[in-house]
């Protein structure tokens, strides 16, 4: 049996992505999914702690535009060792914010391959697929894979007991879609 090469490339479609670091691992996220990048310090006063034992990856909530955003530690979400997070991605059209260590760079991808079928657990929800940049394989995260609807409902119920103060717009980088 001959090994078939990857299917012939169709006209290249590029997608802008942000490469970011969490616990010494590099991930990619579509820049269109990120509305704003904030430093952890800029939200320190506005975030409220959440202590739900079944959701250890969510330790803080922020009140923005009449709704609660929940800050997910990317390292804990992926089961990686906790790390010194410096930045927060506020995701577009989402109630999830991501706590990350730092941004590596912004670039574009032309390839998004599905995860091989041999991966058969949660990772299929975690990732949109894998991209190849400079001969390295990088997982592209699924912005909708960080919290399920049930988890959001649970967090809402916890937050409802103690409403959060609104967050003033502060030093942050707004990303255009």
């Amino acid at each position: 049996m001959r090994f078939k090469p990857a299917p012939a490339a169709e006209p290249l479609r590029t997608e802008q992505i942000i490469l970011f670091r969490s616990s010494n691992q590099i991930f990619a996220i579509s820049s269109g999914s990120v509305q704003e990048v904030r430093s952890v310090d800029s939200l320190a006063g506005a975030a409220r702690e959440i202590g739900e034992p079944s959701l250890g990856k969510v330790r803080h909530a922020i009140r923005r535009s009449d709704r609660n955003l929940y800050v997910v530690s990317v390292a804990l979400h992926f089961g990686l060792p906790p790390s010194a997070a410096m930045l927060i991605f506020l995701l577009r059209k989402s109630r999830v914010a991501l706590l990350i260590d730092g941004i590596e760079k912004m670039t574009s991808m032309t390839i998004l391959q599905a995860l091989p079928n041999a991966f058969c657990h949660e990772e299929h929800r975690w990732y949109r697929g894998l991209t190849v940049l400079d001969q390295s394989v990088i997982p592209v995260v699924n912005p909708e894979g960080f919290l399920t609807a049930e988890e959001l409902s649970l967090l809402d119920a916890i937050s409802a007991a103690e409403p959060l103060p609104p967050t003033a717009p502060a030093a942050g980088l707004e990303l255009n879609p």
Partner: protein
Amino acid sequence: MSLPEQLDSRSCVLLRLGERRFALAAEQVAELVAPSRIFRFAHRTPEIDGVILRRGRVVAVCDLAETLTGKRLATRRFYLIATRGRQSAMDWVALPVSGECELIRADLTPAGPSDSPHVAAWLSHDGEVIELLNLNALTPGPKTTPAPPEARP
């Protein structure tokens, strides 16, 4: 059952995992390649070690040695790239092996009901009885679900 009914002659690839040899049906084998850089990222499929890039494809690396021999491979001399799954769910996996592989033609004896699910058949070669591996049972992947029973009136 007569002998000709028991035996089925097929091309097989012999592979070495540590001290033991196993076989794969030749039609499942794509190629044997030198170990290349393995990329690791967070996931929850413990049988998968990472992925390699091969001809533009991302191929999962699945070390069978621990399952089959009880020990992880000390040295990976090659990756045997093979297919697993069926039809639309067909996929490639890279299997680390510790020595040269050999293409042989051998008579197969079908596995019996008491054999492990990973044994597809048995063959005899150079005085050694060797398991022909069922990769679908050995490697992780979507399980084929049996057809639902027909509705009864």
